[in-house]
Symmetry: C2
Subunit: 399 residues, 2 copies
């Protein structure tokens, strides 16, 4: 199967991760985060609901993949690993009370004579459960354990030209999905029918380039549900006067470009239009402040100052690093655009800057996906950055 990156790029990734391991005093890294597995060896399958691991030994350029037998076939088809570096635990270990897949991970470390080394674990990875952690401790009593949470995520933070190219393609899909949402949502249309068309657009893709499934389904609360940020569609039809928060993404080979806009069906009330203007001015101020050499909290401070002048504030962060991802999240969990985050912006870093105001009686969201360049930022997403409104409806109703 064709992979989206050259072997040289994979070697660079392994090298950079091994450098980071060295600095952290980690000799062996157990990788449970599917995004990190994909980043290192190309593995791509919806198999993260059972335990699986990539094992990186600090001095071996070729990692090992361990998973379920039926998924080992998937590893042979999607990774660049040689046959001997793809291992499977017995099928009977799945959801068993007698055995645990980490037995096979432990056996591999013994085979490689690294079971008594300093071993890094992704203690905050979604699919590395407390039970897997306790099992590893039981099966490898002589190991020294270190927390390697986010070690690979930080290596991922600066994107290569090939990665940025995929994110631009993903952004074009996000734009197409948003255009689709804007075209389909109107009074009388069921929320689910709008969701169905957004999904279709996300997967169909644009320009002959198909979409991969985004790590998050289209978030699209309406009415009072816009005071919450993570709700999906409900069984109702849109009405004149509805507000709809749309947060969606395009995805190419697991690389994401999220995009959020708010749509008002009808003519927005004055106070809501004013909220939109305040948010738009804040986004402008934040984008102005984002450039190489600035730190994350300076971008958020520019937004905060702009908002404060109008009497608004926003408690939650203004954005976060974005890139490779699997459900449940496209965020990289490293840098955040918020007070206290002193991460230096460097060329090639990518962020989802999301100005989400989840306020009563109706919320509003406007976002962009951007890349830091040598001189400032490049917007990857391209879509009218304003409160979207529709006042003429083909069905003849108007507002």
């Amino acid at each position: 199967m064709e992979r989206p990156f050259s072997m040289a790029e994979y070697w660079d990734r392994i090298h950079n991760v091994q450098q980071s391991m060295g600095r952290a005093g980690i000799e062996v890294l157990l990788v449970a985060d599917p995004a990190n597995m994909n980043y290192l060896v190309g593995y791509d399958g919806w198999s993260f609901y059972v335990p699986q691991m990539v094992v990186v030994v600090g001095w071996d350029p070729e990692p090992y993949w361990i998973g379920r037998p039926q998924d080992a076939n998937g590893a042979r088809l999607t990774t660049w690993l040689s046959a001997d570096h793809i291992r499977a635990y017995p099928e009977t270990y799945i959801q068993s009370t007698d055995h645990h897949p980490m037995e096979t991970v432990a056996a591999l470390l013994r085979e490689l004579h690294v079971d008594q080394r300093r071993i890094g674990l992704e203690l905050d990875a979604y699919y590395f459960t407390a039970q897997s952690y306790l099992a590893l401790q039981r099966f490898l009593p002589a190991a020294t354990w270190l927390d390697a949470s986010l070690l690979i995520n930080w290596v991922r933070s600066v994107k290569s030209a090939a990665e940025l190219a995929l994110m631009r393609e993903a952004a074009a899909i996000a734009q197409y999905a948003m255009e689709t949402a804007l075209a389909v949502i109107e009074p009388g249309v069921r929320e689910a029918d709008a969701a169905a068309q957004i999904f279709r657009a996300e997967i169909e893709g644009v320009g002959g380039l198909p979409g991969d499934y985004p790590a998050i389904v289209p978030l699209m609360p309406s009415m009072e549900r816009t005071t919450a940020s993570h709700l999906t569609w409900v069984d109702r039809s849109y009405q004149v006067g509805d507000v709809v928060n749309l947060e969606l993404a395009g995805c190419r080979h697991r690389y994401h470009a999220p995009l959020a806009r708010t749509l008002y069906l009808g003519t927005p009330p004055d106070d809501y239009r004013r909220l939109a203007d305040v948010v738009l001015a804040g986004v402008d101020a934040a984008l102005e402040a984002a450039r190489p050499g600035a730190v994350c909290e300076e971008v958020e401070a520019a937004w905060r100052r702009s908002l404060a002048a109008s009497g608004y504030e926003k408690a939650s962060r203004l954005g976060y690093a974005v890139g490779v991802g699997y459900p449940p999240d496209w965020g990289e969990h490293t840098a955040s655009l918020r007070a206290g985050d002193r991460t230096l912006l460097r060329p090639g870093m990518t962020f989802h800057l999301i100005a989400g105001m989840w306020v009563e009686p109706r919320g509003l969201e406007i976002s962009e996906t951007l890349a830091v360049t040598d001189t400032g930022v490049e917007l990857l997403t391209h879509f009218t950055r304003d409160l979207l409104t529709k006042t003429e409806f083909p069905t003849g109703r108007s507002a």
Copy 2:
């Protein structure tokens, strides 16, 4: 917001969970699995990518929900909990190195004077990371910790009439999605365009009932990729001679009915047709053996005997309990149809019986979602149970 179940049903669930807690000597249960949170209090939001918890105290009929401030609004909109039972941790605790959301969970347990009790944890829940586990131990040093993995999952295993009704609706959506796949897949069509239409059908739903997002995206490997079970679409168009494994689901209010079929584009070779016949006979034998009073391994044994007569074997389990679910899985992780599983089949239990043969040179999958009745089983899914073939193509090509 309207919830799909009566309050009487939610009280029953709480009561049954508290009974189970009592039998296990658990006084306080910390619920991290989003499916279990939904089952107990109705919470529904794509917010499981940050820590959140439902807290059940053994003698209090109303649990507590704890999450992020912006999601607390979602809890107010989707759960039946009173305002005082919905709590939020400070936004600054998100992906922070100084604080952890479990501090707020610990503070609630102190407020309720249960911080020194016997506390059950879902140690194998996807979104309860090792780091959350270690944080709880640090913040609640006087607690006694017990493994409560699957406690609620087992309570969920027997479905009510209202739950079965939702699963029948989900099955109708699965059938519609499979019809859509069969209609759209043909030589020259891109795999992504087929995926896009399957997604659309899953969400659009049927009979005026919209679909919820299934916990797993459409799995649809083609050609040699059918030797693996969890692959999605790739950037290619179908050709005459392709085999496509389709595993998809309908979902209603988080209740799933999965359905798998294999489609052959053209006339299948004899040996592949024979594999399909062996699998079909095995599924018949398994369904014949499934009835209340049988145990799970007897169902699998019937399948295994049927297969053995033809010289085939299947290492992986024949199925698993299914119901409420969030990504990454619609399975309940309790009973499996496999050797060694002595779980008694009881009326109201629901299973995804999946005869998946991930063999060289091409695999095959046939599945049904079923409910155990008073006398046998009810098939919830209804779709021609055979190897699907297409030999006439509208584009004029035939095979």
